[in-house]
């Protein structure tokens, strides 16, 4: 299980800083963040930095040796198969991000804006996947999507197909599984950014003659754009490196960067390559995230 909603959602732009967050009042215990910082450095920042470095060194068996070389990258990018997996992973992650963002927004909109009594139930359903591991949920998909699973049975019964469609091992299954795993986080991100939009703005828009669709399109959407971007970024970045869904639902036929890392690590024992692929995942994630953040900030900046 991965992910969270930690990317800051849209801060409502008009809100002035509270006295507490203004400079001048020093926090009582400024060093309290130190232990966590050290922890993150030790278990994350330093190992990752070394991994980055090792991708430009050479492995001799299990031992790292010099000299600096771009061989791992040359080999990767010289390989058409790798490029196609790279492209496919990015493409699938993008799709997952879009699906999560859209579906998450619909659910969040209901949860935040509706007064329905069903809200609690919906919220419970949204939260429910969090309590089970990705393996469990993937297993559920496996049962659903297999050749004589519910989906195929339903399609057959409906006469839409006349022999079972192999769904397991398709990109479709992987995207479905990933979207399922990540949807709750997209919902939460969208919720918190929707909550920062004053409902009176929507009322004002309706009052000025805009219908619900126009209001959503012209008022709500622009205001929550940074939050949506954050939701997309989060789900996209996690999809890039998600292993379990791709491995199980991909049925070995759908390769992603993550399954490739594991293969290189475990099956073919090419650790240098594994490190280099990790760097590629990192780079794709970092580039996308920062590009989107810039776009998000710009759309916020325009508001002054």
């Amino acid at each position: 299980m991965t992910a969270s909603t930690a990317i800051s959602p849209a801060r409502s732009p008009s809100r002035p800083p509270t006295t507490a967050t203004r400079p001048g009042f020093r926090p009582a215990f400024p060093w309290l963040a130190l232990p966590a910082t050290v922890w993150v450095l030790a278990t994350f920042a330093i190992p990752t930095a070394i991994l980055l470095a090792s991708s430009v060194l050479t492995y001799d068996g299990a031992t790292l040796t010099g000299p600096l070389t771009a061989a791992n990258y040359a080999e990767l990018f010289g390989n058409g198969y790798f490029r196609s997996v790279l492209w496919e992973t990015v493409w699938m992650s993008g799709t997952v991000g879009c699906v999560c963002m859209t579906a998450g927004l619909s659910v969040a909109h209901f949860l935040v804006r509706s007064a329905s009594r069903l809200r609690t139930l919906v919220l419970l359903i949204v939260i429910s996947p969090l309590v089970s591991s990705v393996v469990v949920r993937t297993y559920g998909w496996l049962v659903l999507l297999q050749d004589d699973g519910l989906v195929n049975k339903a399609l057959l019964a409906a006469g839409l197909i006349d022999s079972p469609v192999p769904l397991i091992g398709s990109r479709f299954a992987v995207i479905l599984g990933l979207a399922h795993v990540l949807l709750p986080f997209a919902v939460f991100t969208a919720m918190s950014s929707l909550q920062s939009v004053d409902p009176r703005l929507e009322l004002a828009s309706r009052d000025l003659g805009a219908g619900p669709v126009t209001t959503f399109h012209r008022i709500t959407l622009p205001l929550i754009r940074p939050g949506l971007i954050a939701g997309f970024t989060l789900t996209f970045a996690i999809s890039l490196g998600a292993y379990a869904s791709a491995a199980v639902l991909g049925g070995g036929r759908v390769q992603t960067l993550a399954t490739l890392v594991r293969d290189r690590m475990v099956v073919s024992l090419e650790w240098g390559q594994a490190a280099a692929i990790s760097v590629v995942i990192l780079a794709v994630g970092a580039v996308t995230v920062s590009a989107l953040l810039v776009i998000g900030r710009r759309s916020r900046g325009r508001r002054g």
Partner: protein, 330 residues
């Protein structure tokens, strides 16, 4: 030894063995572990790890000190371990019974372990679909059967051997795999599934949807008893997978490990294990029921006929084959 502190406290010696799970583990406990402990007093702790390559990855990642003493792997990993110098040398000095191994098998130990079983790739087929047992790998490509075949992923060695077998059909081989992949590409258009693990084939047998597909004889025998499937070795011959035992260089209980390997290679254990797991023994010339002998590699002649892939080539090409396979089935 630091990794094993939790298990070898007191009560005599302990040996940490890591191998496959499921029925392999069950059989191992009954057929090997229990009698071994009775005989030597050494307790065996068996853990189901991942596949053979995962076992070796653990050895390599730990620079030969993965926290277990013996790994159940294949000859491929022995080869790699020999090169990496991460597996302890295993010679008849430490393991006298090694001397009984036929030369053809000895050479595939790379002095880095022992072969304890010979699995062969067989053709598993649906008794209902075939009046007579099929005699050629070619049946999988026949329009009647191709929609019930399985195309194994070469991430699993079974997939590698299946590909090699396919290549041989069109005059290719380990040095010319192109025909194999073009056959896979053709088959993938119709095949029932592209499993990664042999376990994934089970449902197709239980539901009777599979027609014919390659399988290892160990598991094949189990399902030949419990389902309506049977297995055979086609006339083109086949490849064998050499089950192997390796001892990481950093193993804490090396002495016990050697005696364990020696024990497994002893004649009656070999016979017992072969019968239990339905594989060929590593020692030829043992006495087997005729029915059993017909289906598994028990004689020097059978061994001679069976192809054994060159581990060096397999290891070298594993990644490339994986990619070619993925492109073929895409």
């Amino acid at each position: 030894a630091c990794t094993s502190t939790s298990v070898d406290d007191g009560e005599g010696d302990v040996l940490l063995v890591e191998g496959y799970g499921a029925e392999y583990q069950q059989l191992f406990e009954e057929t090997i572990a229990k009698p071994f402990t009775e005989k030597t007093g050494i307790r065996i702790q068996y853990t189901a790890g991942g596949s053979a390559s995962e076992q070796y990855a653990a050895i390599r990642a730990s620079k030969g000190n993965p926290g277990f003493d013996v790994a159940v792997m294949t000859s491929m990993e022995l080869y790699q371990g020999g090169i990496d110098k991460l597996l302890a040398e295993v010679t008849p000095e430490q393991v006298p019974n090694l001397a009984n191994l036929p030369p053809k098998l000895r050479e595939h130990t790379y002095r880095a372990g022992a072969i304890q079983e010979v699995q062969q790739v067989v053709l598993m087929y649906d008794r209902k679909a075939f009046a007579q047992p099929p005699t050629s790998w070619n049946v999988m490509w026949e329009p009647r059967y191709r929609s019930g075949t399985l195309v194994f992923n070469p991430a699993n060695v079974l997939g590698v051997y299946a590909m090699l077998n396919a290549a041989e059909l069109d005059g290719g081989g380990i040095d010319d795999t192109a025909p194999g992949f073009s056959r896979i590409a053709e088959l993938a258009k119709h095949a029932l599934a592209t499993p990664q693990a042999s376990a994934e084939a089970v449902p197709f047998m239980q539901k009777g949807t599979a027609t014919a597909f390659p399988y290892f004889d160990g598991r094949a025998a189990i399902y030949a008893r419990t389902t309506n499937y049977d297995y055979t070795v086609p006339r083109e011959g086949t490849y064998a997978l050499l089950g192997a035992l390796g001892i990481p260089v950093g193993a804490a209980h090396k002495e016990a490990a050697y005696s364990f390997v020696d024990y497994w290679l002893s004649a009656d254990v070999q016979r017992r294990w072969a019968l239990a797991y339905n594989v060929g023994p590593a020692i030829t010339g043992l006495d087997f029921p005729a029915e059993f002998a017909a289906k598994h590699i028990t004689t020097p002649e059978q061994l001679e006929r069976t192809r054994i892939a060159d581990a060096a080539k397999v290891m070298r090409n594993r990644t490339a084959w994986g990619q070619q396979w993925a492109e073929a089935v895409r």
